[in-house]
């Protein structure tokens, strides 16, 4: 009857809900599980209903036909995905390869990689600097780094605009100093968008890097120096291998939001250089082609999932080699 629970290894006794087995139905474990189920249910229901379900709807919409005034008609079609790659000729319906959307996608990819690399180049020295400060002041530095991160993304992007525009800070200063006689145009270029992204997501890079470097045993660096290692060799063979998990995590955290960015290209790119995020917004907004917007969203999601899977594999491999 009541199985000798005590004799069982405690994990198996507690974890498994043992579905339907009557002997457990009103045992304390069962009650405990029910209680925990009740505690988890609101989160699962909310995210499931208002996030997972919408994602499923987007997937479904990407296979439907657009209705005239936004929304969809319930007819299966691959038209939306076709539109991503090909134009259909008006007269004889032949497919002509069209690289415009592919260009938007690869432009987003290049920009995301650029912001990732730039964040790494700026973020690594910063994180290293913080990690080498004496204990008590470190929290203070981390706080200073995270502070801009909690200010509005829109406002941060706007700040970049104030600096880069024609009568902005850089141009005004350079003209005042007499270095330039007319302003350099930095706005509405790939450079301004990249700057916007770097400024938006830099803390995402610094924090994981810092978390990693903080744990580095600095005696190792001293030891390396004692053994006549050059600075470059210390960086290459001592610091970098140690910081690798932080580097991958930071890169991921910068890359993903950069790829789907909307505000930076919208405000700093002048809306002329579409990124995939703007493309999606446009299709759901003024272009009123929801299925195409949904298909673009699915393509973006798939790209991000591939990156995440690569990351998980990479993390698993390194976990194994260490353990």
């Amino acid at each position: 009857m009541a199985m000798p629970i005590i004799a069982q290894p405690p994990e198996t006794a507690r974890i498994a809900p043992q579905d339907g087995s009557p002997s457990h139905r009103d045992g304390p474990q069962r009650r405990e599980l029910r209680k925990r189920g009740l505690l988890i249910a609101p989160v699962v229901l909310t995210i499931g209903c208002f996030l997972a379900l919408p994602m499923a709807i987007i997937l479904t919409y990407s296979f439907l036909v657009p209705a005239t005034y936004g929304g969809v008609r319930w007819e299966f079609s691959l038209e939306a995905y076709r539109q991503f790659l090909f134009d259909r000729d008006f007269i004889d319906e032949t497919l002509i390869f069209n690289s415009a959307y592919l260009e938007i996608f690869s432009r987003s990819l290049v920009l995301a990689i650029f912001s990732m690399v730039a964040c790494l180049l700026i973020g690594f020295p910063t994180a290293y600097f913080i990690a080498t400060r004496p204990g008590a002041t470190r929290t203070y530095w981390v706080f200073l780094i995270t502070l801009p991160f909690w200010t509005n993304l829109l406002i941060r992007t706007y700040c970049v605009l104030l600096i880069l525009r024609e009568e902005g800070l850089i141009n005004n200063t350079l003209i005042w100093l007499g270095v330039l006689d007319k302003p350099i145009i930095m706005m509405y270029t790939n450079f301004s968008m990249g700057m916007g992204l770097v400024y938006s997501y830099l803390p995402f890079m610094v924090l994981p890097l810092y978390a990693n470097l903080e744990k580095l045993d600095f005696r190792l660096i001293e030891a390396a120096h004692d053994l006549y290692a050059t600075r470059w060799r210390v960086l290459r063979w001592v610091i970098l291998p140690h910081a690798r998990p932080g580097i991958t995590a930071g890169c991921l955290l910068v890359f993903i939001p950069s790829l789907g960015t909307f505000l930076a290209p919208d405000l700093l790119g002048g809306g002329k250089r579409l990124m995939i995020g703007n493309l999606i917004q446009l299709q759901f907004g003024s272009s009123r082609n929801w299925p195409f917007g949904a298909a673009s969203a699915v393509i973006l999601l798939v790209a991000i999932m591939m990156v995440l899977i690569l990351y998980a594999r990479h993390a698993a491999r390194h976990g194994e080699s260490r353990g």
Partner: protein
């Protein structure tokens, strides 16, 4: 560091500028603040932001606390990784995709409740931000205190009410503050979900930016900035104060 702060400093400095040009200094003035405060469209947007922020924060924090309690106490259970994945989903999916997804969902379900739509959307993406600090706090808490309480015949509710909840409070407060900041700051999702009249502050700022750059935006931005900084600083203080108190508390108990 300079790179991080220079833009913000410029923003604040020029919000006090007497001149109309956003980046040419012409003397100190509070004009733009007065103008911003008198603007009725802005007042409406600020009120919306406040309502959405508070309601979404309360809902998200309550749910996140419950979930954190269930995931950090007792044995690990099957499917916990799936649960973690689900909770972190709002952080992993690009905002623009969440935005169009939520828009399609509301359109399909025919839910047109104005602000309520916005509140629901905000609650969803606030959950992970509230959840993480609470779980972190639960993990550093001394479980023996709860065990001691139940050894002393406290009921589950009593031990939660008198032991767990007070100790967990700093985590809950910092989680709630982060959720509030995230909600106040969101632009993309709100812009997709909000109908006419349900616009929040960022939406207002964005519309103004589209019309042209004026120092009034600097003034509004500075106020938003001040709110964010206050909240984050407070959350930081509460977190470290709470931790210090528990630490000294446990020292007193053992000593």
């Amino acid at each position: 560091m300079a790179l991080l702060y220079a833009p913000v400093v410029i923003l604040v400095v020029f919000s006090f500028n007497a001149n109309r040009a956003v980046t040419i200094w012409a003397g100190f003035s509070l004009d733009w603040y007065v103008r911003a405060a008198a603007n009725s469209g802005l007042q409406k947007a600020a009120l919306n932001s406040l309502i959405v922020g508070i309601v979404a924060t309360v809902c998200a924090t309550a749910m996140a606390t419950a979930a954190a309690l269930a995931t950090s106490r007792g044995q690990r259970f099957r499917g916990i990784n799936a649960l973690y994945a689900l909770i972190s989903m709002p952080m992993m999916i690009p905002e623009i995709v969440i935005a169009v997804g939520t828009l399609s969902f509301f359109a399909l379900a025919g839910i047109r409740l104005g602000l309520v739509n916005v509140i629901i959307a905000h609650t969803v993406f606030c959950i992970p931000f509230a959840y993480l600090p609470i779980r972190a706090r639960l993990e550093v808490m001394d479980k023996r205190l709860e065990e001691a309480a139940s050894d002393l015949y406290a009921s589950a509710w009593q031990s939660f009410r008198l032991i767990t909840l007070p100790l967990l409070m700093p985590g809950i407060v910092s989680g709630a503050m982060l959720a509030f900041i995230i909600s106040i700051d969101d632009y993309i999702i709100t812009s997709m979900v909000a109908g006419a009249g349900a616009g929040t502050l960022p939406i207002y700022v964005y519309t103004q930016l589209r019309l042209g750059v004026t120092p009034e935006i600097n003034a509004i931005s500075t106020v938003l900035l001040a709110i964010s900084i206050l909240f984050v600083a407070a959350s930081h203080l509460v977190g470290s104060y709470g931790l210090a108190r528990t630490r000294s508390g446990s020292v007193r108990h053992t000593g």
